[in-house]
Amino acid sequence: MAHTVDLLYSDTERTLAAALADLLSSRAQASDVVARTEKPDTYDLDLWHTVAAEIGLAGLLIPEPLGGAGASYRELAAAAEQFGAAVAPIPYLGSAAVATAVLLSAAKSSAQRTESAPVSPAAGLLRRMADGELTAALAVPPATLPGAAFPASVRVAGLADGGMTKLRGTIPAVADALPADVLLVPADGVPNALYLVEATAPGVHRTPVTSLDMTRQLCDVTLDGAPARQVAVGPAAEAAVDAGLMAGATVLAAEDLGLAQRCLDMTVAYLKERHQFARPIGSFQALKHRLADLWTMITQARAASRYAAACLADGDPDTPVAVALAKSACGEAAVAAAQECVQMHGGIGFTWEHPAHLYLKRAKASSVLFGT
């Protein structure tokens, strides 16, 4: 970090976060989120529509000419903290972060390459995503690390109608693909390429996975000759997938941070109120010291999260280091905070009714997403 990177929250970020906190406090109440994990629709698509279209989260990263807000990863990260704090069951991570970053990268590459076509397929998709009309997901295994080798489980299986390609293969346990309208599928080949597949097209099978984290339910995706349109090819496809993974890890780190902070807040509130031995249990020094250590861990994670979002926003060459640091610091803070939250709530924290377990499951599952 030769230059100075702004690690504080801007006024815009604070305002956005406050608006989301307000919305989520009524639309994603803990008891409802718990109940939804056992409903057929584990994703809350009404809430997602409000967040994506009305609040404009779907278009946050998308440039204004394509109908978006032209904001940056800094704002998206600030929003993600709120989604983590509420363990909100919406596909913002897969669509507004990962898929959007993939398409932004692809659109940029194609803009550089050909001046002929007025709008690249990627740019066309972004335009439809910007107002929340369309939800997308990158179909990669959940533990794929930024910078990993190009996924190889899907291959081109021939040609389809209308200049399209048929894809065949399986991608296990894809995050946020269940509620997606379109899937972005990396396919192995010479050269590698990235394809767009309509989620409801023939030959596309999405099997819901009984997931550790039912607030972000995974699905197994099988493509059995599914028709696909090429979005990027060769190095551009590889760069696009990597951009998506990098964005995903950064935004997930911010989500982890928000989750950790909320676990700490819930625990502090409970410890002030819960009495044993005629004292609030929050007056017991051993618990106080552990929460002080947890708060300390979160102060560290916050700096790492802010730095990664800022680097990604600025295209800083330190981005890969920043993202790895943020993912690890925030991921560990989230798991530690959720574990302490369950432990310090005692018996009640171990029940299904109490939301502590949602945080624990989300935190632990997130530590696997985008690799450890």
Partner: protein, 394 residues
């Protein structure tokens, strides 16, 4: 009759008269109880011979050799482990006669009604009230984390009979009939999806004064006997071979999934393996101390380490399994027990193990006990002694 040999002779004589192969289990066990061969340390006339507990293994061995019916002690674990010692220590002759035999034969299942939503670590602060009404007590309140309440005929109930004295002094101890209208048992669902435990609600439930164990106001002392027997049962009675605990799952996964290995996961597993193996040796040392008749306080350490290792190892398992670690087998609610469900997968183990540092005494309470009773460090300033229970802040 005090020797091992005498007892073995007696068992063989019994077996000669009651051929297990020719006698139905209920009849065999009933006769065995009546012959004083249920448990060596039970009182004479109540299933035992008033001998040392350590002699029982000789009798068990002979019964096993003779093909005696298996008693499945897990079916009535609270009855055998906690109710029986408490009844033997505090029960009247009538109480022993009424309860011990069907308890031992598992005709009647028992549960323990101590913890409450407002009284976990601070058990003595509990608020379930029992009010005298003629020859009976009327019980109102709520208990929680009650294993087997849905199968139990009897419950060991600790209730407040006098709210005007300091908390430890106002408790009495009852045996309550769970099959009455004032007792409602509801499954308590855990974060694993399962419902191993129950909540129990008392609404004007009734318990005869004849079902009281110990004096009015002496419930805390009676409960100590129950709890001490709970803790005794934690220690293992036989040597456990290497890689037989939670680490077995992790080691097996490492060996069979080379494609998932990383240096970081390897270092963490090596460390966990070493800690698990050392914990096994510490358990073995504890067992040897007990066998030598010099039990140490190391059982508390064993429980702390057991909880931490189960949690860390299952956490490692999810990290190692990566994509597969994000799958869970089944969230639908069902009864079940940690013991039998432990093979369900890393996700289940990770979640279930969170309770290992809460159930049977939280790790925080265990650390207090070690600090004060083992190391002799001073207690914290107390604000709840000498104050009537009803006046305590809560």
């Amino acid at each position: 009759m005090t020797t091992d040999t005498d007892l073995r002779d007696r068992v063989r004589a019994f077996l000669a008269e009651h051929d297990p192969a020719a006698t139905p289990a209920a009849e065999f066990n009933s006769a065995r109880f009546d012959a004083g061969l249920a448990a060596a340390h039970y009182p004479v006339g109540h299933g035992g011979l008033g001998l040392s507990r350590t002699l029982q293994s000789a009798a068990d061995e002979e019964f096993a050799k003779g093909g005696a019916h298996d008693l499945d002690p897990r079916r009535n674990v609270i009855g055998l482990g906690m109710a029986a010692p408490t009844i033997i220590a505090f029960g009247t002759d009538e109480q022993k006669t009424r309860w011990l035999k069907p308890l031992w034969t598992a005709e009647e299942i028992w549960c323990q009604l101590f913890s409450e939503p407002g009284a976990g670590s601070d058990l003595a602060g509990l608020g379930t009230r029992a009010v005298k009404d003629g020859d009976e007590w009327v019980v109102n309140g709520q208990k929680v984390w009650t294993s087997l309440a849905h199968e139990a005929r009897w419950g060991l109930l600790l209730a407040r009979t006098d709210p005007d004295v300091p908390k430890h002094a106002g408790l009495s101890y009852f045996v309550i009939d769970m099959h009455q209208p004032g007792v409602e048992v509801r499954p308590l669902r855990q974060l694993t999806g399962q419902a191993e435990f129950n909540e129990v609600f008392f609404t004007d439930a009734r318990v005869p004064d004849a079902n009281r164990l110990g004096d009015i106001g002496a419930g805390w002392r009676v409960a100590q006997t129950t709890l001490m027997n709970e803790r005794v049962s934690i220690g293992s009675s036989r040597s456990v071979p290497r890689e037989q605990s939670a680490i077995a799952f992790a080691a097996a996964e490492w060996r069979t999934r080379p494609e998932l290995r990383t240096h970081e996961l390897h270092q963490r597993l090596l460390r966990l393996w070493a800690e698990a193996e050392v914990a096994r040796l510490a358990g073995e040392r504890l067992r040897q101390q007990l066998a030598a008749g010099v039990p140490g306080p190391e059982g508390s350490a064993a429980k702390l380490v057991f909880a931490r290792l189960n949690q860390e190892i299952s956490g490692w398992e999810i990290d190692f399994a990566a994509a597969d670690g994000l799958r869970y087998d089944d969230w639908t609610m069902h009864r079940g027990s940690a013991a039998s469900d432990y093979t369900r997968g890393p996700g289940y183990r990770y979640l279930r193990s969170r309770a290992n540092s809460i159930e049977g005494g939280t790790s925080e309470v265990l650390r207090n006990i070690i600090a004060e009773r083992v190391l002799g460090l001073p207690a914290e300033p107390r604000t709840d002694t000498g104050v009537a229970w009803k006046d305590l802040p809560r």
